[in-house]
Symmetry: C2
Subunit: 149 residues, 2 copies
DNA sequence: CACTTTCTGTCAACTAGTTGACAGAATAAT
DNA sequence: ATTATTCTGTCAACTAGTTGACAGAAAGTG
């Protein structure tokens, strides 16, 4: 319980970051952090099916399915069936949704900068690179499954 | 949505780490990662009240309260009222609980090492220090609340 | 002492996820 | 062409957390 304490630190940090982001967004936009994330994913994906969005978000199809009405009823997301494949429900952010998510992103980024401008000795870009490296290394390891043929 | 992408990376990484830890612990011990965390906190705290444990874990008192029977019924946790204060419910890990959490920690750490021995170019201890520094800087910032007197 | 406040654990009602089952549409196989 | 498989979104039932209310015990205050 000493070496993998990095994982504890990571958990504490993201907990703190997400809680703070949530508080800010609730106060200034009336939306949850997880609602923000939904819009971010949808916005960056353009037009996607419900199940692709679920996969992108790392969440079950059912979870996405249940949240859709909340967003459509507020005019933030548009949903409809494509003629090409009657199964899939096509989702995209409305212009209002895109505008909102842009505002929220800007706001959050500004807050974030304010906090970390004064942080000397840590290069956040380098930190990000390191984390991506760790993540990459960690993900390309399911050999047990791949080799079990 | 460019600068605070560090936060996205962080979220992805801890998601991956926790999911993996959960899978390992379920398979080899039949316990959840969050059950493991419960025991870790309790073990490292020694003997604590329910509400202190809740605070340590960053979770509500009700959440802890509801989970206790699961652990006591399996003989992993002991709970009882102290004579000094009849309100508080005193919790501690049984010797069986301690043994289990030690085994789980060892197992997890071993798996963790296996994965990251081969990772060159990243010093995990240094990463941990950096993260702690960021966390520290981030936490000592609630000036708005503190100054509003 | 009487009182108010604070703190404890628990309850009910809610939220946002999960899994497993399902029907229907698209695709693959024979 | 039929049959089988796969993929879609949704439903029901469950899980693990939340908040807000509560009663009872402890501590503070007049």
């Amino acid at each position: 319980m000493d070496q993998h304490r990095v994982t504890f630190t990571l958990n504490r940090l993201v907990g703190e970051l997400n809680t703070t982001a949530d508080r800010v967004l609730r106060k200034d936009f009336g939306l949850t952090y997880s609602q923000f994330l939904f819009l971010v994913h949808l916005d960056s994906a353009g037009t996607v099916s419900s199940s692709v969005l679920a996969k992108n978000m790392g969440v079950s199809r059912a979870a996405v399915s249940k949240r859709i009405p909340w967003f459509t009823s507020r005019g933030l997301v548009r949903s409809g069936h494509t003629p090409s494949d009657n199964r899939v429900l096509t989702l995209s952010a409305t212009s209002q949704g895109k505008r909102l998510v842009a505002e929220m992103s800007d706001h959050l980024e500004q807050r974030f900068r304010e906090k970390f401008d004064s942080l000397e000795g840590v290069d956040l870009d380098e930190l990000n690179r390191t984390l991506l490296c760790v993540l990459d290394h960690f993900q390309q390891q399911p050999r047990e499954a791949a080799m079990a043929t």
